[in-house]
């Protein structure tokens, strides 16, 4: 079984796409907010691999080509952003201010956790870029001397958690303005959270895309400063 799968380039891709379609169908059928298509798809893929004794490497041999499309897809986030340009112009200061506060608060919280749990410097900087998009966070972790593979995992799980909890957090903490919602999701849960923001609405999605960029750049500048604290 594994032998054939290693030779097959499209096995990983088909499993990923079909799992996502199945997850979307499940979401559509039961319509429960906790049914997150991305999370369900990930669980289905892992279950299939475990059940059929297929290793992650075998699966990823083909599936990784899907990941290559992530760069042009992220570039294309400029399109919804452009369609909301008026909103961006009118609220530029509030937008940048909001993302700045969020990014700084996030890194300060990581510092507090590191201090309380007596983390080593390497462990601390591994967690520091956890809210930014994977490609940026990976670079920051590497530069500051963190454990890059763990950073990547933490960043991805952060995105999934943000995607899952976005609705509840916005409701409970009374984040009602669509601009504020989008920025909150993008700043805390990068591109994976942005998927949820687009489900909420066009404004939310565009603002979340914008937050990925600005929070990413602020973290590139801010993380080295925070890194010196511990």
């Amino acid at each position: 079984m594994n032998d054939f799968m290693i030779k097959s380039l499209f096995f990983g891709m088909v499993v990923s796409v079909l799992s996502y379609m199945a997850a979307s169908a499940i979401k559509k059928k039961w319509k429960h907010a906790a049914l997150n298509p991305l999370l369900i798809a990930i669980i289905i893929v892992i279950a299939i691999l475990k059940f059929c004794h297929i290793s992650y490497e075998t699966y990823n041999e083909g599936a990784r080509y899907l990941g290559y499309l992530l760069t042009p897809a992220t570039v294309c986030l400029a399109i919804p952003l452009y369609e909301q340009l008026n909103l961006l112009r009118k609220n530029a200061l509030a937008i940048i201010g909001g993302i700045f506060v969020g990014t700084a608060t996030g890194m300060a919280s990581i510092f507090a956790i590191a201090k309380i749990l007596h983390l080593s410097h390497a462990e601390y900087v591994t967690l520091l870029p956890k809210s930014v998009t994977t490609a940026i966070g990976l670079g920051i972790s590497e530069e500051l001397g963190g454990m890059v593979t763990i950073s990547v995992v933490v960043i991805i799980i952060t995105g999934i958690i943000g995607n899952l909890f976005a609705n509840v957090v916005c409701k409970v903490f009374r984040i009602q303005n669509p601009i504020a919602k989008g920025l909150a999701i993008g700043t805390s849960a990068h591109a994976i959270g942005t998927v949820k923001a687009f489900e909420m609405g066009e404004v939310e999605g565009a603002m979340s895309s914008l937050a990925i960029v600005i929070a990413g750049i602020l973290t590139v500048v801010g993380a080295p400063i925070f890194s010196h604290l511990l």
């Binding site: 992530l70 294309c76 462990e123 591994t126 669509p178």
Partner: protein, 134 residues
Amino acid sequence: MKYLEQFGIIMAFTFIGEVLKLLIPLSIPASIYGMVLLLIALITGVVKLEHVRETGLFLVEIMPILFIPAAVGVMTSVDALREIVLAVLLAITLVTVITMVATGHATQVLIRLQNRTRKKHRNHNDLGEDTLDE
């Protein structure tokens, strides 16, 4: 020809982003350079919306699927996480929520402040609608 042209332009911006990443010694990925450049090109009119729209929105729509391979990779890293499991759990749950709430509220407060000062300066009543303040 429409899709071919759109795909070509998107790939060109992706490539330029990659070149910038190689030239600029910062940990900013190619996709971010590409996104900012495409936005500037759209604003300045160098690229028209209809030159990228359908193919671009297709890529944005399939984006969730593109995260699956990397996310499934978490299954191979369970052991590495065990060492700092408490810190990781706090970071991915508590800190994510704190960041979300801080960003959301800071933005809401700033938008409110901004609307108040604008109303003081001039008496337009369409501002509330423009900023979607409730």
